[in-house]
Symmetry: C2
């Protein structure tokens, strides 16, 4: 069975979105800079894939995951990725109030984060599961369900916004990889149990 990997871009001062994040402002004020590494150098306009280098390799690695778990805010503020995060893998949206019907066949709404993770892992089989969104991450951290963090550390201070790590949460990690891409440092951590 694969690992549950949190995949997020974070500023050096710990924010994954700027202030005032909302439906029409998914990354918050000034937060677009967190995704600028996806556009550094040239990208393929049809896939958003960076064309070369470390950033392309990390992008490709993310797309080898076999399922996605996300909180509802992040899912909706990202315009539901048009119903397909990548390659048609199943998406599990954690929400306390699931809608009666999903607009997309591959998108399931689940009211319990642990159940969402279990279903995603089963669906992914041998492949890893990608997790997005601080709401989902906080639930999963408290459930002890996160295996790894893949953090794109962006060399800016945003000053305000939504933090990846919640006040009060403590943990110990092992750094398993640090690679410099254009405009970003890609870090990979394994959570110590």
């Amino acid at each position: 069975m694969g690992s549950l990997i949190v995949s997020m871009s974070m500023s050096l001062d710990g924010f994954v979105a700027g202030a005032n994040a909302g439906p029409d402002n998914g990354l918050g004020d000034g937060g677009e800079v967190l995704h600028s590494w996806l556009n550094a150098g040239n990208i393929d306009p049809t896939s958003y894939r960076p064309e070369r280098g470390v950033n392309a390799r990390i992008f490709d690695e993310m797309l080898t995951t076999g399922a996605v778990v996300v909180d509802r805010h992040t899912f909706e503020w990202a315009d539901e990725w048009g119903g397909d995060h990548h390659d048609g893998v199943p998406v599990f949206v954690v929400t306390r109030t699931p809608p009666a019907v999903s607009a997309y066949e591959i998108v399931s709404y689940v009211d319990d984060p642990v159940t969402a993770i279990d279903r995603a892992k089963a669906a992914a089989g041998e492949r890893d599961v990608m997790m997005h969104g601080v709401g989902a991450v906080r639930d999963a951290m408290r459930a002890g369900a996160v295996d790894e963090f893949s953090i794109a550390l962006v060399p800016v201070l945003l000053g305000r916004g939504r933090r990846l790590f919640d006040e009060g949460d403590t943990a110990a990690f092992e750094l398993t990889r640090a690679e410099q891409g254009e405009g970003v440092l890609h870090l990979r951590y394994r959570v110590r149990r």
Copy 2:
């Protein structure tokens, strides 16, 4: 003239000390882990120098600085480093209320952070100046006086404590170096003007 380099150990969630930091608890609750990289592997018991590897090299690099600027809390909570941070270089302590007399010839108390930095740079000559302590860092950041950050990024979440970067401060950096030592990732950033 040298650069002003902030040198701090920071948890992945942004803390440079745990909660309840104070005179007898300089690194705060659980904060000793931030300095554990200084003790990874063997150290020379007379100098605290890590004996080998990247950590030793980074340690040695810190000691090539020609002056130190520190805020008074950090200075006092570190037991004033016995009056000598390293090699007898001058220490400039930023405090609103300088004592009439300094207990150490090489320690000067200065009531204005910019003046402290100017005096330290003049004293260091061609060498860089090391800065310690979030109080000093915040003043210096607001004055636009910080040239570089040397951050020992420790793979833990402390959950609470004192943050290196203040809420509301925004900035853009350039990552100039990332090196893995035992139990720590050494990052070097240049502040973009």
